[in-house]
Subunit: 206 residues, 2 copies
DNA sequence: CTGTGTGAAGGCTTTCACAGCC
DNA sequence: GGCTGTGAAAGCCTTCACACAG
């Protein structure tokens, strides 16, 4: 039961289940069936049960799942994933946009610092994170033991910046630059391209 | 060869190929092999060829693909997907962040207007798109024949707002709200949750 | 010899069908 | 009866192997 035995897609859905369960607990709901939970997440009940089967048996037949108990189990599985410090590199258009976004903090991720070659790129003072020059990236990351980075630099400098991130000890990168990053095998990269999401979506308009 | 016969994932990759090809053309490169193009996109050569096979035969055996020719074909396949007007609903934290992002415009998507219940949420005047009250959404969307919407309202109001979007004729929604939207079958929804992306990523840190 | 096009094989996910337990 | 847990089946996508063209 190595953690890499669990499919990426399953892990992604665990996060979805977790959020719905939190909402249920807020509403003092103590029990939920796989059918109800699956519907809220937008998957089939059997898929939810298969996902959970990777970790053990949490339900009661004929009844469903105990909300608190399942939450605790999922929190345990996802625990390493939360409350990690994050740095953001590239405080340009999208970067500073994401700095203004409080959705990360709400979910337990704090952007502890942003880096840019131009430190004058400070938008009006709503963000708490300091914007530092790139030269400080290495030392800062190592001192604070940061492992997660959000990369929002232009594609032309993305690989060079990535090399610096890897050298500084970063282990996972949420990459918004439109290129494939070359990284050592111990570093995980997830690519996001909002323009392509939009393009892809509009393709399926009837 | 109905457009829905083409897998979502393939369409997504077509967008990736397209962007690399544009870059090659800028560099006056006229021919590219499936191996080279696939590497730039981060997929296997056979997958690239299978993707293209959905539409016909574009390559020359022993030589590769003509950059301009393949670009033209892909542009034709993706044509409906580009240069669409888009509205953004919910000019809160993430919404106004995305309004500041110029990556959409670069790829051919113009955010023609933003809507919010509070029209005073205007950040400093860098954006060109007007921020309008929600009451104008319906008329505006119909008059301008907008079919694409970016949804960045809180989860609590997302479904209600979505109903309004659907009534106004919106056919595709890029949804950042953390709930599953109920929509008629002719409406396409794509969900994006940046916090979960981050959580999922950090799960795979060794 | 190089590199595309493609049927067949393989692998991964999802779904089904139903056994088992409350 | 209601609902979970799970082996088997199905479906989908990716990869292989190789025929074929330049």
């Amino acid at each position: 039961m190595s953690k890499f035995a669990i499919p990426r897609k399953t892990v992604y859905r665990l996060s979805l289940y977790f959020r719905i369960l939190e909402r249920l607990r807020q509403n003092r709901i103590e029990t939920v069936s796989s059918a109800a939970l699956a519907k809220a997440v937008g998957v089939k009940p059997t898929q939810l049960r298969k996902d959970l089967a990777h970790f053990g048996q949490f339900g009661t037949r004929g009844l469903g799942y105990n909300v608190g108990g399942l939450l605790a189990h999922l929190a345990n599985v996802l625990r390493t994933a939360r409350f990690q410090p994050v740095i953001l590199v590239g405080a340009g258009n999208l970067g500073s946009a994401l700095l203004h976004y409080d959705g990360f903090a709400k979910e337990g991720f704090e952007i502890v610092a942003a880096f840019d070659i131009r430190i004058d790129r400070v938008r009006k003072g709503s963000e708490k994170s300091p914007i530092l020059p790139m030269e400080k990236l290495h030392t800062f990351t190592q001192k604070q033991n940061v492992k997660l980075a959000i990369l929002t630099v232009p594609g032309t400098s993305a690989q060079a910046v990535t090399n610096g991130l890897v050298a500084a000890g970063i282990q996972a990168i949420l990459n918004f630059a439109p290129i494939i990053l070359q990284v050592p095998s111990h570093v995980v990269v997830h690519n996001v391209n909002l323009a392509i999401e939009l393009e892809n979506l509009s393709y399926f308009i009837a």
